[in-house]
Amino acid sequence: MNDVSTNSPVAQRPAHVTDAVTYDFDMFGDAAYVADPHKRILDLVKNAPPIFWTPRNGGHWMLMTHSANFHASRDTEGFSSEIVPQAMIKAMMAKMPPGSPHIPQPLPITIDPPDHTAYRMPLQRAFSPKAMLGLQKSIRELAVDLIEKMKAKGGGNFVDEVAEPMPVQIFLKMFGLPLERQQEYRTLVKEHMEGNQNHDPRAIVARMLKLTSIMRETVLERKENPQDDLISMLWQSEINGKPTTLADLENYCVVLFTAGLDTVVNGISHGVLHLAKNPDLQRELRANPEKIHGASEELLRRYTFTVPLRRIAKDLNFQGVEMKTNDRVMLFLPAADLDSSEYPEAERYDLQRQNSVHIAFGVGPHRCLGSHLARLELQIVYEELLARVPEFRLDPDKPVTYHGGHVVGPDAVWLRWN
């Protein structure tokens, strides 16, 4: 059933990888995965080793269990987020001719403690639960506006109508960027999401440079004329005791753009897709809106969809498996949250679950900075959708298709009602 033709070429297996821990799975191209990702994940959880090496996409480890993901995420000395070590990046930058453009980096995602902490701290307060409460009203207004527009059309592709414009507009608002340029940012988000399949580093750098050039004018303007927005606040912050520079500001723009937009798009889309397939759940939540909060958490667990990357920073034996320096590791969180030793009958969507503490937002120091914002966006969209749109279902003429990769999700979710 696995159509091998969509898979990437097979890499040579390193000597330290044994047969017992080798398993062939292409997280970008596996046909069954792209046809129905979480169905395939349940199959992998049952049939693949708990930690395995796959020869696809250059060869890398996959961590499947909750325990493996939990411990690897918290061991930043063994499992480094510096896919290219910062020391090497610094050396490369030093060799560039003077006047070369600053190549933005998504910090703090790709830097290890202790510097990680220094880069994360300036963002922490702006994304704290308390700060998010202040955004609640404008998120709700935006959700209502988008949902009413889709409703007026009598149906549509929920991804394009609501899931995608929503986080982009919130991003612009938080940053204090002009809403008139929304279209430019939405185009970039689209390119970014499509680029998910093509991980050519030059294409990634080109997109980052495009983003920073669109934002530069506003960023520089806020340095002179601070306002009540994130850019102005970041200009007033310090990193390791030094005032932030234009390069720091550009790094922050890039990290929030890459981490905070397509994640939310995919998260909302997974949730609405599940609701569309389950009219009983819709009915239960419409009758008891106070259950939506728990329902949203269980959707995050059942359809965990991000796959962070690590580099082994020293030879180690991890839960009985030999790993060598510079091996690449996927924290396959979608499988961790479907681990039945942690969540009995993990495949069941269950609002009564005893243990509903998932790791969809990761674990350890890199745990999602934007989780409070994301939770708010998800919950509000479900609330307003259920309150405003009658029982909806998938449009049978437009089957759902998916993408794999680091952010797994549906490409389109066509809804119908009446």
């Binding site: 918290r74 701290m121 922490q124 307060r125 994304f127 704290s128 639960p129 308390k130 243990n355 503490v357 998932h358 790791i359 937002f361 674990v363 350890g364 120091p365 745990r367 989780s371 409070h372």
Partner: protein, 64 residues
Amino acid sequence: MKIKIDKASCVGNARCAAVSPELFPLDEDGYIAVTEIDVPPGMEALARRGARACPERIIIVVED
């Protein structure tokens, strides 16, 4: 009953505070603000639920 928290390992999930903002106070940046809490009588169940809610598993309940 007491709660002990490995504060240095807190990553600011605020899941504990989502269960009970009174028992689990956060600082301005969203991290847990305390290392030890005496659970007032009647709040034991909330304390246990808050401890279970921490994805980092750094909140420990010490029963009397």
